[in-house]
């Protein structure tokens, strides 16, 4: 590697020489370092190397994923701001906007589950209120290893406490999410956190600086040596050693974040702010460079002004610190005093640490020395971009229902299924989250989508996170489609019109063609579904290198969807409402057992092609269900997903305490009851209306059939002994608390 002469204008005497080893430790490949040299025409200083390493790592630069992400549909009638800002923004009418995004904090949560999860929630909340929105809800999608793995219980306990600890104290309701277990997450659990906020459409704040000579203000908590290398860590694969290395863990301070929220919103209301950017991954570096680069301006920072909580911090450390609860803001100069007074009132640090310049250079000064002098645009835009080779996995065979022997009758199979780690109630988790604070939670966790009233109503947002990783593993393209379709379906099942999504793409090492193949396949599937369902992507996050010793996680593209209800009092819930109502099954049932939970957890076979998703049918069936809900005809609604028809029926019964009996002439086959065919829902209607609803479905080209009637205190499947709803509930509620108490594996 040709090392060049040090630049004499950078008189950095106390920094070590740049060696190939040091370059490698910064995660820069030799060709990437060459790119640095070509770009600046000299050897970088250590601080500069750190800055390149932070800006050009996978986490910040999206170098492996960018080319593919560009293919996603990001525009639509409701979209105000698509990907590229701190969060996506959509128009929900009445001058209001919904601001939302999902982000991962996987690696930190494995190393220190409580603080890792907590700071993950803190980070995504900052992304949302940086844009001028008051957070109104959080969701969390969690994937853990095999329950039998010795670390799993500890991770579940810490992560859940951390998500709750931060959100509860900050004061935002955590209203939904997912929890799954699979041995492929053993060394790499996933913590994806989503935040949703509300703003006025004409008061959205962006990161792009404007105007030369404007003061750049540092706000929030002081800087310490937290999480230096954090961003690089998020892009590095784990090995046996990394548990020993224990990089500096960031500690969350939800109290300071709450103060920061109130101070920021107050300052924004006073019209003081030109641009604002939170300090997330790669802290001061990333935020300063982005503000300048997006605004076509240079930035000069004076590190002597940065509020530090530790002594003798070097420029390198200050530039790369990931201390939490900090912001950078470009202020209207005439508002300096006013802004400072607001921050002082909230007990937060406020310091002018730099200015915008006309030079397009990123300059950092510390103790009278110039530590950094880099071209600001190139730092962001010239990051390497890879078209990594990828291979598609061979298609798996379609499993014929006739080839799957039922190991037990339907009833016991149903009871066993709803007591499995993936299907059991997640009450133990969401009861640790304050899901009602702010007084707008219309539908709490436990239904298909959470429903959160907007201001005083009647509008409300429906929120859901979804993905079925085992489908993605079996067929990335279909799995990507399915993740979006299921999210759309969950929003539809409460009666909402799905508007837009955020995606959080969690995969293994993209340098392996088969992993890259999963990524590309899923992104294609997501894009196709988003187009077909008019459900654009407005924000997202990519987390790669989730693998340990060469074993990757299941491909897990979490989808977080937002839907709109014009009148939340019309929203549907999944609980049966009354006895004697007709239960209708919407959508076609072929009995698709491949990759079903029945096949995996009852028959012990994790096999076959996953159910295909027909997006046209998906839309037609969903639109029909939504209109039945909004017309008030459907008294309850629930989409069918994991576990199929029998599980969905049981969930509706358990939510209400009312039983159901199915018509005797129905198929008794396991494939009918547990198959996971897509685009299906269950609704209930008054018995007298059933005929009319079925006729309407027929006219709309929507397959629909009558399953039976609600009533009694037991669920009766055809040819089976009735199962008391209370017994179903016991099984459903038992597993997770017992597991966490150490009682079961």
């Amino acid at each position: 590697m040709p090392l060049r002469i040090r630049d004499e204008t950078l008189r950095v005497t106390n920094e070590p020489a740049i060696t190939p080893k040091l370059v490698a430790e910064h995660g820069l490949k030799p060709d990437e370092y060459q790119r640095v040299l070509d770009l600046i025409g000299r050897e970088p200083s250590l601080t500069e190397l750190g800055i390149f390493s932070a800006m050009w790592n996978e986490h910040c630069s999206y170098k492996s994923s960018k080319v593919h992400l560009r293919t996603l549909p990001t525009t639509g009638k409701c979209v105000i701001q698509g990907p590229g800002e701190n969060a996506g923004v959509i128009d929900i009418g009445d001058g209001l906007a919904c601001v939302f995004k999902m982000e991962s904090h996987n690696h930190p949560s494995y190393i220190e589950p409580y603080q890792g999860a907590a700071t993950g929630v803190g980070g995504i909340l900052r992304d949302v209120f940086t844009m001028g929105a008051r957070p109104i809800a959080c969701l969390n999608a969690l994937s853990f290893g095999d329950p039998k793995h010795p670390k799993t219980r500890h991770l579940v306990s810490g992560v859940v406490a951390g998500v709750g600890g931060y959100g509860n104290s900050f004061g935002v309701p955590t209203v939904g999410g997912q929890v799954r277990f699979h041995t492929r997450y053993d060394g790499n659990n996933l913590v994806n956190a989503m935040a949703v906020g509300l703003a006025e459409t004409d008061k959205i704040f962006y990161a792009a600086a404007s105007g030369v000579g404007m003061p750049i203000v540092y706000l929030g908590s002081k800087t310490g040596r937290d999480g230096i290398h954090g961003a690089s860590m998020a892009s590095a694969e784990f090995d046996e050693d990394s548990e020993g290395k224990r990089p500096t863990v960031q500690v969350g301070d939800p109290f300071s974040e709450k103060l920061l929220l109130e101070a920021c919103l107050e300052i924004m209301a006073k019209d003081c702010v030109i641009a604002i950017q939170d300090m997330g991954a790669a802290g001061l570096t990333c935020s300063a460079v982005e503000m300048g680069a997006k605004g076509d301006l240079g930035v000069t920072l004076d590190l002597d002004a940065v509020p530090c909580r530790e002594e003798n911090m070097s420029a390198y450390e200050m530039m790369l610190s990931e201390s939490q609860e900090r912001m950078l803001m470009v202020l209207k100069p005439e508002k300096e005093k006013e802004a400072e007074a607001i921050f002082r009132k909230w007990g937060l640090d406020f310091a002018i640490v730099g200015r915008t310049t006309p030079t397009m250079r990123f300059i950092v000064q510390h103790q009278g020395k110039q530590m950094v002098d880099l071209p600001i645009k190139e730092l962001g835009d010239q990051a390497p971009e890879y078209k990594r080779p990828f291979t598609d996995m061979p298609k798996l065979p379609v499993i014929k229902a006739a080839d799957v022997k039922a190991p037990m009758p339907l009833g016991p199979a149903l009871q066993a299924l709803i007591a499995t780690p993936d299907l059991c109630s997640k009450r133990w988790v969401w009861e640790q989250y304050d899901h009602i604070i702010l007084g707008n939670t219309v539908q709490r966790p436990g239904g298909d989508a959470a429903v959160v009233r907007v201001l005083e109503g009647p509008k409300a947002l429906a929120l859901s996170t979804d993905v079925t990783p085992r489908y993605c593993e079996a067929d990335a393209f279909e799995g990507g489609k399915q993740a979006v379709a299921e999210c759309w379906r969950n929003l539809t099942a409460v009666g909402a019109k799905p508007l837009a999504i955020t995606d959080n793409l969690n995969f293994g090492n993209p340098e392996r063609p088969e992993i890259m193949g999963q990524f590309v396949g899923c992104v294609r599937g997501i894009g196709e579904a988003c187009k077909a369902l008019d459900f654009p992507v407005v924000s997202g996050n990519v987390s790669l290198y989730n693998e340990t010793n060469g074993r990757a996680i299941l491909p897990t593209p979490s989808i977080g969807g937002v839907g709109l209800l014009d009148d939340f009092t019309k929203s549907a819930t999944l609980a049966f409402k009354a006895e004697g109502e007709a239960i209708l099954l919407i959508g076609d049932t072929h009995g698709w057992l491949g990759q079903s939970l029945y096949l995996r957890d009852i028959c012990g076979r994790e096999e076959g092609a996953p159910p295909p998703v027909d997006l046209v049918v998906e839309k037609r069936n969903g639109d029909f269900v939504r209109s039945a809900i909004l017309a008030g005809t459907a008294t309850a609604a629930h989409d069918l997903s994991d576990g199929g028809l029998a599980v969905a029926l049981a969930e509706m019964a358990m939510a209400s305490g009312i039983g159901a009996s199915c018509e005797a002439k129905l198929e008794a086959g396991h494939a009918f009851w547990f198959g996971e065919d897509q685009a299906r829902y269950l609704i209930t209607v008054e018995a007298a209306q059933a005929g009319a609803v079925l006729a309407r479905a027929k006219a709309a080209g929507v397959p629909a059939r009558r399953l039976g009637l609600t009533g009694g205190d037991a669920l009766t499947l055809p040819g089976e002994r009735p199962i008391l709803v209370t017994i179903l509930r016991e099984g459903f509620e038992a597993w997770l608390p017992a597991y966490m108490a150490g009682g079961v594996n």
Binding site: G224, R225, D226, T248, V251, R309, E310
Partner: protein
């Protein structure tokens, strides 16, 4: 036997509690406090009288449960 395990935050790890307490002391008019770091103590009653065994058991307890060794240090004292 009585024993005490003291758990404190490692240097450099943010201590939001300590920070809030500093501020509160200042506004209560307690002067001269430059910084506060908060930790935990566990006062533990141990059966038997084998000091070495007790110390080993406590170290195990601290490692497994009482301290989060990613961000905390601990100290075990068997007081006898």
């Amino acid at each position: 036997m009585k024993a005490r395990v003291t758990v404190t935050l490692k240097t450099g790890v943010l201590d939001p509690q300590g920070k809030a307490i500093e501020g509160a002391l200042r506004s209560l008019g307690v002067t001269g406090v430059a910084s506060v770091r908060q930790g935990k103590v566990f006062d533990i009653e141990i059966e038997g009288s084998d000091k070495a065994k007790a110390e080993a058991a406590l170290k195990a307890a601290a490692d497994k449960l009482l301290a989060n060794t990613v961000i905390e240090n601990y100290r075990v004292e068997v007081l006898g």
